[in-house]
Amino acid sequence: MKEIFTSLRRTPYQSLAGFLVLFFTLFLSLVLLISLSFVNGFLSYIETRPQVTVYFQPKTPENNIFKVRDELSASGKTLSIKYINQNQAFEIYKNLNKDNPLLLEMVSADILPPSLEIYAKKPIYLPEIAEYLKKQGDVDEVQYQKDIVDKLLNLTNVLRRSSLIFFIYLIFMSIIVLTTSTLFKIALKSKEIEILRLLGASNNYIRKPYLIEGLFFGCAASLISFVIVIGTFFYFNPFLKSYLAGVHSLTLDLYVTKLTVWPMNTVFFAVMFSLSLIFGCIIAVVSSFLATQKYLKV
């Protein structure tokens, strides 16, 4: 630690330049990471909204409808299936037309069809579910908005791919910029490295101060950027609350577990900070390693 502060004191401008590059990279990465988590959570939320509604013929026995429901549930492709019987359908009809007594007089529960409202786990399952339903004997009509689902699927795929490309670009750019700035710093110390080599210093000994300094900058930059991002997040919290008023929660599917993005919670922030810290340390260490490598050939 003492060596780091001595180095900072003796080369303040080079150190500041290196730190600022790392800080802006991490700040942008963290903003991007949180934004992507929100976008992904929101996309996952939107993707579960479309549904297939299947209307059965009015006289269809409930057992037949339940059989279809159970088979769909067993497929593992549905998120939820809601059964609406004729009486419930009539209640809905009455609510929708309560201001029109004429329409209410004309309709009774017997003529309304029972139905299933099916929410798929992923929108790509919707066409498959719709096809399956059309093949069932008692089905009167299958409602499924294919165009909207296809457009939504295209949009979410484009968003996911472009954010991934942008993220890879950011990592690549950070390593290049940091390696170059560390190279400048080390170039000024090439004489020192030559002397150390002649005195018998190993590659690790020569590399160590640069790696430790990189690690220190990585930790400090990720901590500061995290504090700023979190401060900004809290500042905009009331706006987010009103904007996402109808959304119960946004989650990110991480294959092994699900991470709740919204509402704000400490687990999400802890994960974001850890990722930022790991990312900061890795790019700082990798760039220091690459930069010193050039001067360590015997």
Partner: protein, 225 residues
């Protein structure tokens, strides 16, 4: 022990820095390597440090052939050798203490060991009061002493000194040579110089190089230019 066996160093333009030079140096021997500028003194030092590779012949240090292409223990070799370079090679952004401590830190000595060794070396070269001073604040003689302190601080087996009095006035030169006299018998000391007064007064072994060839090897010799 250092053994040079028919060592030649030829540069790409065809000129020889050393031409079939052979000699043996025993452990704890004190010797001078003399000759006019360009005779090959610095090349001998650079070959021992493996800063240069010989074009032909072999160099053995403690029975290891360091001239062999398969010799990879360069770091270990250099840790056995303390060097006082002609241009001192002092790190300008480190103070006197830090410059000397580097030699100990490279060998992974503990903090307290490093501190003791540096203090001892500073006392030997008479610079105890200047351990916190930076190189820009030191005279040429003091810089030379720092370079010597760094070379002797961690008790390396060999001490190579390249032109220790080249940039110094006669009084300071003698003071510097007194330091090497104190180390006699404790390690192998090779001093490359063309200062005949100093060589003659010490009456030690002298290897005389001329145009890359060893022309004289005198056990208790003197030297006349």
């Amino acid at each position: 022990m250092i053994v040079f066996d028919k060592v030649s160093k030829k540069f790409p333009l065809g000129n020889f820095a050393l031409n079939e030079v052979s000699f043996e140096i025993d452990n704890n021997e004190f010797l001078f390597l003399v000759g006019p500028s360009g005779a090959g003194k610095t090349s001998v030092i650079k070959l021992i440090l493996k800063e240069l590779l010989p074009s032909s012949g072999s160099i053995l240090i403690d029975d290891e052939d360091i001239s062999s292409p398969v010799f990879k223990k360069v770091t270990e070799l250099r840790r056995k050798i303390g060097v006082v370079f002609q241009d001192f090679k002092i790190l300008l952004d480190k103070n006197v203490f830090e410059n000397i401590a580097i030699a100990c830190q490279i060998k992974n000595l503990s903090h307290s060991q490093t501190k003791n060794q540096v203090k001892e070396a500073l006392s030997l070269v008479n610079l105890s009061k200047k351990e916190g001073v930076f190189p820009v604040q030191l005279s040429a003689g003091e810089l030379q002493r720092v370079a010597i302190a760094r070379a002797i601080a961690d008790e390396r087996k060999y001490l190579l000194v390249d032109e220790p009095t080249g940039n110094l006035d006669p009084k300071t030169s003698w003071e510097i040579m007194k330091i090497f006299k104190k180390l006699e018998g404790k390690k192998t000391i090779i001093i490359a110089t063309h200062n005949s007064d100093i060589v003659n007064s010490f009456q030690k072994r002298v290897l005389v190089l001329k145009e890359g060839k060893l022309v004289k090897d005198q056990r208790k010799g003197g030297y006349n230019i």
